[in-house]
Symmetry: D2
Subunit: 341 residues, 4 copies
């Protein structure tokens, strides 16, 4: 049900027009005239009415404001599915009691270095390996990733360690290629509202890790998940990675309150990427511990053996021994909140 607030100056004709328009959409109305304003309560399933069409009602003469009550997302909502969605990736269950750690370098830069990193994070307790083969870069003059060669290296790392792969898709034209290699398709921050890309991954049977947009609201983020789910793929994992604020000491501001908020609004699993949020390796540990304490189902952490030689994001990558120490501390906090790693 939605609510339409009329202008003080609204006439009976205007009210009739609005009522007619709504009834043609199969909705009925409840009109209550207050001392100050007249309010029209719209009765029926208004979730079918898209945000954009609501603008048109707003544009009708006599209308002051339209307030939406029903959530614009359905499949992603807790109202649609009460129990948590648990996504099984080669036997690993994301969204259950166990907290999973996805670790690896930002970009795949070479075979040996990736295999070394993969083995080390596996030993420390990571359950997924990550690395970018196609990199979204702010500069066109930068290393844009190794492409398929990088995917082959990831696959080798998987065979070596048994860890499933998480890697980013930037272009619908790469999807078929991507499907041959990855176990989880990552949709990056800058593509959270690349609607064509969302529809594309919505049509395949492969889990999607959907990162939050740089200044997206939780509602916009869930609408992006809805895009994917609307095409049949319900295996969506949400990944909080910080939002843009005025703070400059950290690259972005990690919004950990998004974790408990999402646990209420949606049944989808939610993981946290502290590395990109803070942009500094020395802040990754406290924020990872906080993420687990806040209820995250997993973590995505950048690890690199030689951060100072990394093609990208070296500043925020942990060295293997620091990562190892982090996992030890994470186990203690996980236990304290009744979870395990």
């Amino acid at each position: 049900m939605d609510i339409i607030v009329l202008k003080k100056s609204s006439t009976q004709d205007e009210i009739d027009n609005i009522q007619k328009r709504l009834e043609t959409k199969g909705l009925s109305v409840n009109i209550s005239k207050g001392t100050e304003r007249t309010i029209i309560g719209v009765i029926g399933d208004t979730s079918k009415i898209p945000e954009e069409e609501v603008d048109s009602v707003r544009a009708m003469s006599g209308v002051d404001e339209v307030m939406r009550i029903v959530k614009p997302y359905k499949l992603a909502s807790r109202d649609f599915k009460k129990e948590n969605t648990v996504i099984d990736v080669e036997g690993l269950k994301i969204g259950g009691n166990k907290i999973h750690i996805i670790a690896g370098p930002c970009a795949i830069e070479g075979r040996d270095i990736l295999l070394t990193i993969a083995q080390k994070v596996k030993e420390s307790g990571a359950s997924f390996v990550r690395g970018g083969a196609f990199k979204p870069r702010t500069s066109p003059y930068t290393f844009q990733g190794m492409g398929e060669e990088g995917l082959q290296i990831l696959l080798e790392a998987k065979k070596l360690t048994g860890m499933p792969i998480v890697t980013e898709l930037m272009d619908p034209r790469d999807l078929t290629l991507m499907l041959k290699y990855t176990d989880i398709i990552q949709i990056g921050t800058r593509n959270m509202q690349n609607f064509r890309l969302l529809l594309e991954v919505g049509m395949v049977d492969k889990p999607v890790l959907l990162k939050r947009g740089l200044s997206a609201t939780i509602k916009e983020w869930l609408m992006a998940a809805e895009y994917i789910m609307s095409r049949g793929n319900h295996k969506v994992i949400l990944c909080e990675r910080g939002v843009r604020t005025f703070e400059t000491i950290t690259r972005n501001t990690l919004d950990l309150s998004a974790v408990p908020v999402l646990k209420q609004l949606t049944h989808l699993p939610i993981i946290v990427d502290p590395s990109h949020a803070v942009g500094r390796w020395d802040l990754v540990k406290p924020m990872s511990l906080a993420a687990v304490a806040a209820g995250a189902d997993g973590l995505l952490i950048e690890v690199h053996t030689k951060p100072e030689e990394a093609c990208s994001d070296g500043e925020q990558s942990l060295k293997p021994d620091v990562f190892d120490d982090l996992v030890k501390s994470l186990r203690l906090v996980a236990t304290a909140v009744g979870r395990e790693i």
Copy 2:
């Protein structure tokens, strides 16, 4: 030239490592030891060093901060090209003394209505017709545009009125189709950092209207333009359409100071879209007048004969008579600032 600020605790070995690394990149250094800190001035063309690699230097031991002085964009910069870029679209010159108005509905909804709108805005003084055939929608359940049928209608409107076409591209796979119809390719707000799409339009010979991202900085916006230009297409028109702020009465906040700032930083033409920025038709006039006073090279304005029946953004569309009145006022302000419409 860039500047590297070292930690107070930095050692001579660390300084030597940094110097070596820079020299391998063909750069030389100027080391100045202050009472508090040691600073390394990097001498040579550091513009070749991409943002992301700078992170790696930041990650080197001994480094506290790296400050960039050279702009990361080159082709888009005034330093690269002193005189204004004037883009000729079928004889209409964007970026010259004449201010051009691009007008039309948000989405193409039908033949008759588009042709009517096109004729009316033409009579009032618009020089380009716009309308979306492929619509980026926040909900997957919304009208997504008429597709090629919409493009055909636009073409008919062009033949009828002589006005060149501006319409949005969302997916690299639609480019070939798009090229058969449009005169200016619009890249929308949500795709400002869809780098694959930017590279794609960078390889065709067709002007690109690049909208500012929803919370993009001017620097990020110019880097997006650089992406397009780096592939050879230098015909980029920047379009300010408001940034996200905490204000809720207007949909976004139109950043008019971006106009004079861009006039200093870049040689590219800059136009303003007040309709999407404010999201309310009754604010479009004052903001259009202000945009022209601030130095905009053009305006992008939504016009609809029946806003209350529009499939999208009805709330912000002007009726033809209001648009006609607006253009009259715009001519007066344009004259006051030495421009013409």
Copy 3:
């Protein structure tokens, strides 16, 4: 009238409790049960219910959301007073057809320099002189202003040029002193929500220039004006001076759409301070022209004879000749929009 949206799970008892609570406040209700939710329309003058108490209703069991329809400000609202408020300051009318320019240095630094600046801006067309005697500084180690000595210099400038004075009040304990000198009391950005200070200036008979808070919404700003007016002083002038955004090239982002929005919401005059918003003298002219085109009733502009020697904000101060040229251009735009300077 306000609206209370109940949880799907709400019980009849909960509905009865809410109804009882509202009735004890002299309000009646309209309950409409939709297919999805039950909505309670609150009938009566809910403007008496403060924001904070609404939180308590939100906390009642069964309540999902409370939506406010009535504006929380009354005296500042157009609904309360239809016609524009015109404030007469020694014969100069702020809020009428004439646009007034308030000019001067950021801080008063000495007698001779202030008198020189005052005479020059007067010759160019300014009608008020401004300068800070008490300066809000981000660092405690900075020049904090000349205090009463500065006010005496301002008074001398007024006697010399006939221009009334605008200067800032930071502390309720300075009010009595301030009243002996100034014609308009300025409340700075950082004190927009210094409620004790607002109440204090609300009890005197002197116009107040209320600057917008650094990241304040228009509604919060009008509530600050309401604070002043609630104590009897209705002579409030609103001053837009830019809001904080992610853009770093300009100090803040001037929100010119606030001008037409405020013209709808309130009867109070609204002026614009481009100098502090952009923080760079070379952007002051285009933004001043835009402000006038957008409908501003006045401008507050920093002028300094030797910007590079200014104790503060030198970077954004215009030299007298640049200011003189600016006023000439302003007259043209003012005429174009039917105003005069």
Copy 4:
């Protein structure tokens, strides 16, 4: 040491002028001419040069940019004091290994209710009682607090429970009164840059709890602490309470990364107020656990026996039993990170 970047077009005369100006301030320079630009490294203690005066150097002809390297705050900096500041309040040590909880209602509304709340939170494990006697309200028509009568009730609660008092000061004129009752003076979010108030509490010997401004950066926040410390009072406790973002589901966004960042930059204790940050009682527990995991030295939590009858912020107050359960969980996480409660 600071760095001055000159314009490409800068002349030798301009360079000489800048050098002269700096030398008159007792600073020396290191000039390095790069292939693109000339850079002036300023040698000497530039921390004495306030932000505002730097603007003047920026305004000098030939200057393109000035970059500050030294932190503008000194007394608050880790460079000034290596070891953590531990503040002793009646034997309770804030900033040590023990995490302290400050609990109570937002506003003091009556004797019985406050005493009840105080006793209950004490039993659960709180060590300080809080409650507002002077309330900063967004509306002038709202309950503004009980004033001294409220302070007397707080004192009674202290005598009853032995818990020291934390309450807010809004006006320098209330300080003397306040000193008779409170053990910690709270400076609220809206007064973080009320510089006169900061200087005032800087001159008394009483700990100050300084809340972060609504959209303040960490640097601005530390400068506010510096204001207090510059007058001699070094007993400052920083309180993170969320910053403004575009998210609307939570009142503000709790910036937990501020905790580890501040642990690096300053020696002052840092506590977290999750109640005001999220604005919803059901999110207080996960965010409190996360705050402790992130390294907070304490928590400020709102507790009310009848949230739905609270004069303010009922929505975000925990009932005593929920608070009791929270403290139990907090002890587990505290232990996991090597702290105690």
